[in-house]
Assembly symmetry: C2
Homo-oligomer: 197 residues x 2
């Protein structure tokens, strides 16, 4: 049976951005099938009573430094927090589901994360979303219209409910079977699990 | 100038236990001087408004699994949560400062962490503390008496206040100069910083 790596993420999450830059290579070298699965992080926090780490002032300063450290460690451009932070990612997340339907989820996710966390763009801005759809090879107007349908809204909600019911409380969250891992910093453990699988 | 790795830890913290099993080898291979620095994690939480991750029920189950994953990854024996958890580490922390005065901090820390997180012993039990002092090459009665002096109590408080004033909000916390790192999972970043220093 094929090994699968499920990657639950939200475009609002900078640590999921860091993971998005690693998951393809990891899946490749472990022979796993990668499933990009969007969910809504705010709804995960609400359902679990968890809070974003940035909500504690003593951690907030460290988080920015920690993200920069990881960018250097991973060889990524310097991370820039979007002016509109926390990121309002709802529309981008829905558009990501449309990209997934069209087989463009990896391209759309890289474009979207880089727009948010390298270029500091506002993912709540419809013009930014149009550019991202185009960059990922989607037809922007049709894709945006599709992203606002009830079907897509429900799909995002279902992914979120599923992740929470399987134990998720933050992002990124990974599953190897029902074996859950939380955080970009757990990819070394994910890799170990995939090699053993 | 010598490179220094400061390791702030508390015997109540299982993630600090994981780090304690790595810091000596890391310091050795990067040519850094290791400083074991006890502080009181409960007081750090109180001062910063931070909470232990286990206090969120959605995270609590994952934490135990995550600790086991790291033990396997690091090649450590299966971690066992002490029956008395959260660990009442105050007396052990003070005794650790006495061990440090006598050049026995590494031996005492390994013995104490393994007693708590491998054997599941209660660090609040004076008999356990006596055994640990003896195992680390201390004279048990004299060391325990010394650990209850105002001088040692003040030293633990000062370490705690210093760590908080330098930005710490949890354990383990590492400093390379004033460059702070939080968590056993950040040792890869600590190593990178020490190599660059």
């Amino acid at each position: 049976m094929a090994k699968t790596l499920e990657f639950f993420f939200d475009y609002a999450s900078p640590y999921s951005y860091l993971a998005s830059e690693q998951v393809e290579a990891l899946a490749e070298r472990t022979g796993a099938e990668l499933r990009w699965r969007l969910f809504l992080l705010g709804a995960v926090f609400k359902a679990t009573g968890n809070v974003p780490p940035i909500s504690n002032p003593s951690k907030a300063g460290y988080l920015g430094k920690d993200l920069l450290d990881w960018c250097r460690y991973q060889g990524l451009p310097e991370l820039r927090m979007p002016e509109a932070f926390p990121v309002n990612s709802l529309k981008a997340d829905r558009l990501g589901l449309v990209a997934a339907e069209q087989g463009r989820i990896a391209a759309f996710s890289h474009a979207t994360y880089r727009a948010a966390f390298v270029e500091g763009k506002d993912l709540g801005d419809p013009k930014v979303l149009q550019e991202l759809a185009r960059a990922a090879g989607l037809e922007p107007e049709a894709a945006l219209a599709r992203s606002e349908t009830q079907e897509i809204k429900d799909a995002l909600r279902r992914n979120t409910e599923e992740a929470v019911s399987r134990g998720a409380f933050g992002a990124p969250t990974f599953f190897v079977g029902e074996d859950m891992y939380f955080g970009n910093d757990r990819l070394v453990l994910v890799e170990r699990a995939l090699r053993a699988a």
